[in-house]
């Protein structure tokens, strides 16, 4: 009897605690989804204080992968759990098509003039770029030259693959297909080549598992983005990035306002802070290594681009064409790879 009562009392006390306000009062607030890991750490330590200082707006971040953000907003049907998205091109187009993104008014963005042409559009603002290529363990294998090398020894038996679930996985598989005669909309050659070497491949994994698999030597070559490589390297992992001979892939990361967002005005302030010179400069520094979007920021030498003008020399993809095909590719990947 005693224990049950004390348990209930304890439960009530805990329940009551959650009702207390946990945040210092600010003029306004905005909630935004952010990628877990480096993005969250960087935004928490740089963007949150900057926004608080400049506009007295409290930014609350919720770490979520792009697809999880889209799923949550879609499921919530007009009552989104956060005011702002951060998305890659693939999920971005899905979110636009599903009507989950509020139209964006570039004129309300004070820093718009500091961004290259095309970085602000009717859906949102681009805050940076990601570059995808090949990562390898320099202590175990020589540096591969390009995508084709991944299919021959010594790399193929050390290769860690992921499927079409993520943006980086999809673009990498497209690039592999291209090397073997395919195109942005025809990944068949990649499947043909994969099937040939499948028994040799070290791991076919879930994207979430790749860092751990690589760290423990289950695979020594994989495709990923420069930022992941920089983060892991900064943590003492034996990893190096290679720009494939056919070019590394680049894509933009964009911020958007969710349809039905309650703090639209503060979301604009948040976006403004995120692309401001001071914030962008701080974000380029290690351990974050973001590729900046603000033209006034000098690109540090350790980043994979010398300047944003170089962006167009990277391999780019048209996600409006890719997205409708992706469900089919995922299904095919399941069937072709299944044991």
């Amino acid at each position: 009897m005693f224990s049950r009562r004390s348990l209930l009392a304890g439960a009530t006390a805990l329940g009551g605690a959650s009702l207390l306000p946990t945040l210092a009062h600010a003029k306004g607030s905005v909630t935004a989804a952010i990628y877990p890991g480096t993005w969250e750490e960087a935004y928490r330590s740089i963007v949150v204080p900057a926004l608080k200082k400049d506009s007295d707006v409290e930014l609350e971040l919720q770490p979520l992968f792009a697809v999880d953000q889209v799923a949550k907003v879609k499921a919530a049907r007009g009552a989104p759990p956060f005011d702002a998205f951060v998305l890659d091109p693939g999920p971005r187009i899905m979110a636009i098509e599903a009507g989950l993104i509020e139209k964006f008014d570039g004129k309300k963005l004070m820093n718009a003039s500091k961004l290259p042409a095309g970085f602000v559009d009717e859906w949102g603002v681009c805050v940076g770029a990601q570059v995808v290529g090949i990562a390898y363990n320099p202590k175990k294998v020589p540096a591969p030259k390009g995508w084709k090398d991944l299919f021959s020894e010594p790399w193929v038996s050390r290769l860690g693959l992921t499927g079409f679930q993520t943006t980086f996985g999809t673009v990498s598989l497209i690039e592999i297909a291209k090397v073997f005669g395919g195109s942005e909309t025809n990944v068949e050659p990649a499947f043909v080549e994969l099937k040939k070497v499948l028994p040799k491949i070290a791991a076919v994994g879930q994207p979430a598992a790749m860092a751990g698999l690589f760290q423990q030597g289950q695979c020594d070559v994989m495709y990923t983005n420069t930022q992941t490589v920089a983060t892991l390297k900064g943590r003492g992992v034996d990893i190096e990035f290679v720009k494939p001979e056919t070019g590394a892939v680049a894509f933009y990361t964009t911020l958007h306002i969710t349809k039905g967002a309650t703090e639209v005005a503060n979301a604009y302030k948040y976006f403004d802070a995120a692309v401001s010179k001071g914030v962008q400069e701080a974000l380029t520094k290690p351990p974050y290594n973001f590729i900046p979007a603000n033209k006034d920021v000098v690109m540090p030498s350790y980043l994979p681009m010398k300047s944003l003008d170089e962006f167009n020399s990277f391999v780019l993809h048209d996600w409006a064409k890719i997205n409708p095909l992706r469900a089919g590719w995922i299904e095919k990947f399941n069937k072709e790879m299944a044991k």
Binding site: T38, A75, A211, G234, R235, V237
Partner: protein, 273 residues
């Protein structure tokens, strides 16, 4: 005859002993690896770890470095405590209600109560988010508690039902035929006998809630960050050794709790004598 007996019994000892040892190895190996890794001197999760240091525990307890983890851990603890408390109450009542029923309907209901275990958490999380926003709720801690209660109560129900099915019905009947009220019988006869079952289920439910990823993923908000989701992000992108330290803390806490319980129970026993 006697020698054959002892040989057979010896084989029993060897086989059972070997299998039990394998079971212990399977249970303990990952725990040892995680604990060892949590004391690494390196900057990322790696086994075998390089050097020995307590830096990741220090970082984990540092309020400025790990504020987000603390917030998430408090949320997770609160949700687990509340959902388990409700689960114990509703689950053991339901187990009592269904245990002796021989109705076909009772069996159907029992199967229904088990179904959250079988429905992938991902599906339930998604469906629950769609449904609750449809009827006008916004994701909140209370909603997560409700969701966790549903997916963890089957543990309590199952273990309680298992202990009840062993309970001799004659015991209840004789207690009541001796004039004891139903409630008195419940308190003095039934509950003490099924308490281990309830406790086992409650523990399973509590830990399942603490470690639940999919339901929390959909029902949480920026203000109700949950521990396993945060740890998942740390694992995927940074291989942060603090996630090993979190497990070290959980195991130590459980160990201390067990010692405390042992001490208090031992104390009560002494007082009774």
């Amino acid at each position: 005859m006697g020698r054959r007996r002892s040989f057979v019994d010896l084989s029993y000892g060897v086989v059972i002993g070997t299998l039990a040892t394998i079971a212990l190895l399977i249970i303990v190996a990952p725990v040892v690896i995680v604990l060892t890794t949590s004391f690494t001197e390196g900057r990322s999760l790696k086994f075998p770890p390089t050097g020995f240091s307590l830096q990741w525990y220090e970082a984990l307890f540092d309020p400025s470095k790990s504020r987000q983890i603390h917030r998430a851990a408090l949320n997770s603890l609160e949700v687990a405590a509340c959902s388990t408390a409700f689960g114990i109450l509703l689950g053991s009542m339901a187990a009592l209600g269904l245990a002796r029923g021989r109705h076909r309907l009772g069996r159907v209901v029992d199967g229904f109560f088990m179904s959250p275990l079988v429905l992938p958490g991902l599906t339930f999380g998604l469906a629950a988010l769609m449904y609750f926003t449809l009827i006008g709720f916004r994701p909140s801690l209370n909603l997560i508690i409700a969701g966790h209660m549903i997916v963890t109560v089957p543990f309590i129900l199952r273990t309680t039902t298992a202990s009840l099915s062993q309970l001799d019905p004659a015991l209840n009947d004789s207690s009541q035929s001796l004039g004891a009220s139903w409630l008195y019988t419940l308190r003095r006869v039934t509950l003490p006998l099924i308490a281990p079952g309830i406790f086992a289920g409650a523990f399973l439910a509590f830990m399942a809630s603490i470690d639940n990823v999919p339901v929390s993923l959909f029902l949480s908000t920026a203000r109700t960050d949950m521990l396993p989701i945060r740890m998942w992000g740390m694992m995927e992108s940074t291989l942060d050794p603090r996630i090993a330290a979190v497990s070290g803390v959980l195991i130590t806490a459980a160990f201390l709790l067990m010692l405390v319980m042992e001490w208090t129970v031992g104390l009560t026993r002494r007082m009774r004598e």
